[in-house]
Symmetry: C2
Subunit: 257 residues, 2 copies
DNA sequence: CGTTTCGTTGAAGAGTGTCAAGGCCAGTGG
DNA sequence: CCACTGGCCTTGACACTCTTCAACGAAACG
């Protein structure tokens, strides 16, 4: 059950020059420490749109840091229903689910051509033993994923369709902005069905709500192209018509660091 | 914002004699290694029913291993809606959400009188540096939590009320069994509203579905006391009327050690 | 023993899902 | 270059699940 496509580009990986360094590695790291990281992350891997980085059931031995591209994680229920649990973009780490049982429990599928840094887990484990900042950083990465999922659970458990989509759009917006892209105009890499799966809605509902937002002047939609016209209007939807105000756990907040 | 009740019982903690050891600590650990763990886990803490072990906003510095009792984790949305994200029982670890930002992002509330072992995170971090089994074990604990939440997301995103409750009951059943209690008869420590919050349903729906299950002879309910009469019938509900069969990711599977 | 919290049940209504038809767009092959 | 195809998106009508509101009963608590 190993994945078919393994085009390993063996060009020397450079963490020092990587523009995603602050996102990927702990803040205060000496040059020597970064070099030790580079000794571990020796390969990259490209995944073509539609292909899997890994699949549920695959043996786990590596984590992946996304250099560029876009992925979804999906779990499958016993009777074949698919559930999108996350959308991942550059600078994020995927594969954490595999540590539990040394086997991946979900699929990671590229939604556009994607390139990842391959991080052999055993070697990372070695590294954490002698580099406390790295150990602490890795714990934070996992903890952040747990907190992110809390937000998803909150969304799925207690929000209406409009609130879910508003939260979803704002979340995307902030993540794009944090990566230097426009926060008000972006392209959805996923289909309506995938958005629906992620948000616990049917694709028709997603479509209808987006149309309604568009009609209300909150956004402008053209197929996959989205423009946010009234961000605080979207925020007001989540907080329940009340004015924006500070969010305690809005799922819209960017994963910091 | 520190929690009010901090009755620290300073009786010497003994991991060696703890009947939850296999659940809490890695399998192959030498006596010396266990002693080093005991040096770190020096205190226990009791939390009375209804009180908080910690609250969102509290500074994070410790993890907690549940010795006995029952807890819920809840997150709060911006507009005050509460969402239960987990129910925890003996042998499980809580507080992992706090690592991300050195601040807890959810409340942990005792649903019955509870006792936990206090694990200072900084010291645990020290320990993992020199004990590879412990580092690996701790990573697995966090990864398992991520996988568990995948199951919750799947449930919330794609299941109907009856399926959710069937999965919930089977999940509880297996966890009780794994702890040496009856898998077919147990007491719910939480209210209908809390079950509903966890499952993304209203308490009336929970009550109705339980009544329906009872009427169909699947279970017997008497307030908080539940008896499972037909487990495979419940399983059939989840898999969609089809016969039980092997589950791929059913959320009903016990979180192994 | 009163008071409060919790649980059950009914009736009506809202919010999504389901089914179906049609339009848009990109890619493919003639 | 154009027609064709298939995937994706939109929209409408209707069905259904779940929520809401309300009343009542049962257990828990001081």
């Amino acid at each position: 059950m190993t994945t078919p496509n393994i085009p390993l580009s063996t060009l020397r990986v450079s963490c020092i020059n990587c523009n995603l360094r602050e996102r990927c590695l702990p803040a205060r790291m000496s040059l020597r420490e970064i070099e030790r990281m580079e000794d571990i992350v020796t390969t990259r891997r490209r995944v073509k749109r539609g292909d899997a980085l890994y699949r549920a059931g695959d043996r786990f031995d590596c984590l992946y840091a996304i250099r560029l591209g876009f992925l979804k994680s999906t779990v499958m229920s016993s009777d074949g229903r698919e559930q999108v649990t996350a959308f991942h973009m550059a600078g994020e780490m995927v594969g954490l689910d595999g540590i539990a049982n040394e086997v991946h429990s979900c699929d990671a599928i590229a939604l556009e051509d994607t390139e990842v840094c391959v991080i052999p887990y055993e070697k990372l484990l070695d590294l954490t033993a002698t580099m406390r900042v790295m150990a602490a950083h890795f714990h934070r990465v996992m903890s952040r994923e747990i907190v992110r999922q809390h937000g998803v659970i909150l969304l799925l458990g207690s929000m209406h369709a409009e609130e879910r989509l508003a939260a979803f759009l704002l979340n995307l917006s902030q993540r794009f902005e944090a990566r230097g892209y426009s926060r008000s105009e972006f392209v959805l890499r996923m289909t309506r069905a995938e958005i629906g799966s992620y948000l616990g809605l049917k694709l028709e509902t997603v479509s209808r709500v987006l149309s309604r937002f568009s009609h209300d002047g909150l956004i402008q939609v053209n197929q996959k192209h989205v423009q946010i016209l009234n961000a605080s209007g979207l925020r007001a939807i989540i907080t329940g018509q009340g004015q924006s105000g500070p969010l305690r756990n809005g799922f819209t907040e960017e994963d910091r660091s």
